[in-house]
Amino acid sequence: MTRALFLNFSSMKFLTEYRDPDLVARYLDEINKAATRPWTIMEVCGGQTHSLVKNGILNMLPDEVRMVHGPGCPVCVTPLNLIDKAVFLAEEKGVILCSFGDMLRVPGSGKSLLEAKAAGADVRILYSPLEAVKLAQDNPDREVVFFAVGFETTAPANALSVLHAHRAGVSNYAILASHVLVPPAIEAVMNDEESHIQGFLAAGHVCAIMGIDEYHPLAERYRIPIVVTGFEPVDLLQGILMTVRQLEKGEARVENQYSRVVRPEGNPEAQKVIRQVFRTGDREWRGIGSIPMSGYELRPGFERYDANLKFSVNIGKARESEECIAGLILKGIKKPGECPQFGKKCKPESPLGAPMVSSEGACAAYYHFHQAIQDLETVA
């Protein structure tokens, strides 16, 4: 196992092509020409929401194209009781609780992990779950728990951490898994009576792992175009253009805009690791509720790495804020600005719900980059 991340920065330069203002202008022009009627398209992934808002793309699109923001923010959909559990493990069980940075600020019923850390709990931000296994090896007298949140994208690394611990005989390592899956989320959105989504930009990085096959039946069943899309401005605009063109022609196919990263079959090695460690099960989504077969849980044989089973956790029922409409936001039924508490009671420094916390959450993205401009436009 290597401790260091090795980054090849020179390879990042190619990204500039996907931020080229001339190309952006050309795609916008094409979208303008292609869209003859209003269309509602959901970008599934919070990373895409972030990029759309941060680059100011939402304000550049023609009125015909209405983007709504999907449930693909892992931090946002992690159930409240799991956050409470993580806080409990860190505070009451004395474990070293590790997580990705975003997760720390999300409020639980009582407090966030960041607040638990300030109060003395051993909470650490890591970039890789493999680091957590190393931490367990370095601290044999402590229990280490990795808060394994995320979509299919982070599942292989989390699964690998369990395999590493298993092979190295590390018995003081466990994960608190909250893995969610994109296709069942798309189903949940489409099955909602209030939903008016006509096309999807599927999450490029998720498909890089899982491939695109599981999206064909969805496109067929719901008669919706699904375009696997990347995260840079040109990626997003190309994805939107492909979706609009399908919609205008009345087509409902799966297309791959992000082919420089996504192979149709995905990453078979990564899938193998996932299958080895996880199985699919029902999962609670914060703000949305339980979705059948929408998450990963540890397979039999790996129970000893399941923090849920390893520690007896005695916490009360999680209480959600009654004023937070996160569920409607996550399903794209309401936009952040339509929430009465947006920017008033609910702000990034005092969030009522998770979408105001993570930079991938639609509310936070709007609050940071978007809202004031809308205000200005209203004033002007």
């Binding site: 330069k13 203002p21 420094e349």
Partner: protein, 345 residues
């Protein structure tokens, strides 16, 4: 910075509680040659304080340094402690003269580390042209500190032509940055425990006072505001300016200078360079008429070659910083809530 002062032979190799007692061990530490490094007429007095002569208006500032790790690519906490306070004085339009130097050492700090930090302080002071005239050393028990904390307080003489005040900013003024953004924060992150990545990135820590003095000589009162965007980065400083002046600021992302490697690291770590800390650049708000000359002159100065005009002050959106993205979209730039935390995917 290359260190070239040999460490004196000592009969102790780690700092212990006694070194902060004020008694025998403290004196042995002082006499060991350690403080000869910073020797000058005021410090050599070993008095309770320093008596100084200053001319005209005086600027006065203080800052504490708690960076972890204490040694990082491109510098260490000692250099940072000198440059940080020197730069705060420079931002007031002052010529930095004298510093105080307060150490809080954690028991167990190696003398080698302390020596290396002191040598850096010596060189940083020489480069900036300031003198350490008074100081203090305390030692806390192991676990009660983080190796070493440093406080520096500085005084300087305000440049006769300087009139640096946010209230002098007017619509139409230009916003200029003296160099590439985000280098310091990313260099620190690259060596943070659990996040080591291999890179040639270095902190941009440096003094700004010589640059600022040259610019004040040339442009004087046409410089309306100077700020060094340390913690919170450029975004925080600019939003503060917009809030305080009740004017708006337009930023142009395509003009904001960021080194390719830093930009790549930010990309991968999910950080926005606008919010990442800097230690060797400043933001200037200047009268529009001199802006081009200002940038040209700055580029000719040591430390200023990447200077760029990145925005302007406007009446259009009071109290807001609005950035035109590289692709032409607009977004609001807000103050950061808490620390910038890495994203999940």
């Amino acid at each position: 910075m290359q260190l070239s002062c040999p460490m004196p032979a000592l009969d102790f190799d780690v700092i212990t509680l006694g070194h902060g007692s004020g008694g025998l061990l403290t004196n042995r530490l002082l006499d060991s040659g350690v403080f000869d490094l910073l020797s000058n007429e005021w410090l050599d007095e070993r008095h309770d304080g320093a008596t100084l002569n200053l001319n005209g208006k005086v600027a006065f500032t203080t800052d504490s340094f708690v960076v972890s790790p204490i040694f990082f690519p491109g510098g260490n906490i000692g250099e940072l402690a000198v440059n940080g306070t020197v730069n705060d004085l420079a931002m007031c339009g002052a010529i930095p003269r004298y510093l105080s130097l307060g150490f809080i050492l954690e028991e167990g700090l190696t003398m080698k580390a302390f020596w290396d930090i002191l040598v850096s302080i010596k060189y940083a002071c020489e480069k900036a042209g300031v003198k350490v005239v008074t100081g203090d050393t305390k030692v806390v028990e192991r676990g009660k500190g983080d190796k070493i904390f440093i406080n520096t307080t500085g005084v300087g003489e305000v440049h006769p032509r300087a009139d640096i005040r946010a209230c002098r900013i007017q619509a139409g003024d230009k916003v200029i940055v003296s160099g590439n953004l985000a280098a310091h924060g990313i260099a620190i992150l690259s060596v943070r425990k659990g996040l080591e990545f291999e890179t040639a990135l270095e902190s941009d820590t440096r003094n700004l006072n010589h640059m600022v003095r040259d610019l004040l000589d040339e442009f004087g009162e046409d410089i309306h505001l100077l700020r060094d965007p340390t913690r919170g980065g450029a975004a925080t400083v600019l939003t503060e300016i917009a809030r305080d002046t009740r004017l708006g600021i337009d930023l142009f992302q395509k003009d904001i200078p960021v080194d390719d490697a830093v930009s790549g690291a930010c990309e991968l770590l999910g950080l926005d360079p606008l919010y990442v800390a800097n230690e060797g650049i400043f933001l200037a708000v200047v009268r529009a008429e001199i802006a081009d000359d200002f940038v040209r002159r700055l580029r000719g100065l040591e430390g200023g070659k990447d200077a760029a005009m990145i925005g302007q002050v406007t009446e259009a959106h009071p109290r807001q910083v609005v950035m035109t993205s590289r692709i032409g979209g607009k977004r609001v730039v807000n103050m950061l809530v808490g620390e910038q935390l890495p994203r999940i995917c």
